[in-house]
């Protein structure tokens, strides 16, 4: 069954097209990777899908709800970890988590917080004001805030940005466990991360979808046996107008 059906999704800023006629279907329980060079339109796509930005053209339907017609319904079933860390600085880690659980109407916010605190090993900092945490720790809290709502569709925009290797591996573990339970769209600039985690991967440049498939398929398409080389090859071919 399909979780996300994107049709002709387009975003223009003035005369500049940030996302250009995107067509994409993502299955329920799929972990979908969105890759692309800086400015390719990944964040803009995620923002349209999470009703933060209105599409100029086209539409996307998330579990039966159109982002154009039923944004309020969409917002109930999604959760987003934005590219920038987004926390309430003067709340403690636990308060931040419980606050998000409350606004999503989770029945037992404190129990839900216990769970993500354990998943992300946040115990030692749970009662610290979030602004006193290091950048990487704030990042972990910000991602944990997206997960506490137990969404049906989860958007992770460069979740591992600024995390150390251990924290990144830990997050991979958390994501692995969520796989199949919810539909996830993940963007990242770490290609090994996309290769390790994602069921399917799409590569965007200049707002357009250039290639899509499993990591294996993309390597074959590019004729490379290493995923990073394949990505570079595809991005370069797209730049030359060959894709």
């Amino acid at each position: 069954m399909e979780a996300i059906v994107i049709k002709n999704l387009t975003k223009k800023y003035g005369s500049f097209t940030a996302v250009d006629k995107l067509d994409l279907t993502i299955g329920k329980g799929e972990l979908f990777g969105l890759l692309g060079v800086n400015g390719a339109g990944k964040t803009t796509t995620i923002k349209m899908l999470s009703c933060l930005t209105k599409p100029t053209d086209g539409d996307a339907v998330l579990l039966g709800n159109s982002i154009r017609e039923k944004p309020a319904e969409v917002k109930k079933i999604i959760s987003i970890s934005t590219q920038e860390t987004a926390v309430a600085p003067n709340l403690t880690v636990r308060e931040n988590l419980e606050f998000i659980a409350q606004i999503y109407g989770i029945s037992d916010p404190s129990a839900a917080a216990d769970k993500v605190i354990a998943d992300f090993s946040l115990q030692e900092k749970e009662n610290a004001r979030t602004k006193t945490l290091s950048g990487g720790w704030q990042r972990k809290v910000s991602i944990a805030m997206a997960l506490i709502t137990n969404p049906q569709i989860l958007f992770l925009d460069e979740p591992t940005l600024g995390l150390d290797v251990l924290a990144r591996r830990e997050l991979w573990g958390v994501i692995e466990k969520l796989k199949t339970k919810m539909t996830i769209i993940l963007t990242t600039h770490y290609l090994e991360e996309a290769e390790a985690l994602c069921d399917r991967i799409a590569i965007m440049t200049q707002g357009k979808l250039r290639a899509m498939g499993t990591a294996e398929e993309l390597k074959q398409l590019a004729g490379k046996d290493n995923f990073e080389d394949a990505f570079v090859e595809i991005a370069e071919r797209a730049g030359k107008g060959e894709l």
Binding site: S79, T82, A86, L91, F99, I100, Y104, G105
Partner: protein, 252 residues
């Protein structure tokens, strides 16, 4: 549920900033004490009573509210620039949740602030042997509720429209306008001229005037001032709501 959760968060955010206490409580109380000392050094023959505690308390309370406006602006603009609001815009929070969640806690803090400022004034009045009625003060706090909403509205509006660098600057303009043109430090009625006219077109003088009349037990004369403040309150509140909704609906 969402409103309560967001209101609680906002109150925590404000109360955990030590500067809130310095500006919103420390400053008005310090002014009360300072002006009382100055008042003592004014010879009785000068017949100048603006600085006497019964005249002073209403103005200083309004002065305190202007700082609450500053904190309202900083809270909203920081939430916006830090992408915290972006995350919430993608949540089930509705415009009503946001607006009530910002206004309510600030309104509670404004009432608490007024109670404390008037409370300190009562103590000073008792020490100075000036008569100050508790009934009048309670009535003054009620007459100040529209002003509280107005100042919070100014804060939210600036916070919605300007960055966390620019918003405080704009707030200081309002703080100065309120302090100078609000008749907190001078007797506008005795002044006359163009400046007095300007003062009476702006809401600040009327906020102070209505509360002062209430303190003096002359609430019956405060009708015009109350109406003018109310009109500004409605306008500013509408502006702040429009600005907020606009932010919600634009590209985030």
């Amino acid at each position: 549920m969402r409103i309560t959760a967001f209101a609680k968060r906002n109150i925590k955010e404000l109360l955990r900033d030590p500067l809130s206490y310095v500006f919103c409580l420390g400053f008005p109380v310090m002014m009360l004490l300072l002006m009382t000392v100055i008042n003592k050094s004014i010879p009785p023959q000068a017949n100048m009573t603006v600085f006497r505690i019964d005249n002073l308390c209403a103005g200083i309370t309004v002065f305190g509210l202007t700082f609450l406006m500053l904190f309202a602006a900083m809270l909203t603009s920081k939430d916006r620039t830090s992408s915290f609001l972006t995350r919430l815009y993608a949540s089930p929070m509705t415009a009503v949740d946001f607006i009530a969640g910002y206004y309510l806690p600030l309104l509670i803090l404004a009432v608490v602030q007024a109670v404390i400022t008037f409370g300190v004034s009562l103590v000073i009045a008792a020490i100075e042997g000036v008569s100050l009625s508790i009934g009048g003060i309670l009535l003054a706090i009620v007459t100040l509720i529209p002003s509280m909403v107005m100042f919070i509205g100014f804060g939210l509006f600036f916070g919605c429209k300007f960055s966390d660098k620019a918003a405080p600057g704009l707030c200081s303009a309002i703080i100065s306008a309120a302090a100078i043109l609000g008749g907190i430090w001078m007797d506008i009625d005795a002044m006359g001229g163009t400046l007095a006219k300007i003062c009476k077109v702006l809401p600040f003088y009327h906020s102070v005037n209505a509360a002062r009349l209430a303190v003096d037990g002359n609430i019956g004369e405060a009708g015009t001032s109350m109406l003018i403040v109310l009109a500004y309150t409605v306008a500013v509140a509408v502006l702040s709501v429009v600005a907020f909704r606009h932010n919600m609906n634009k590209d985030n």
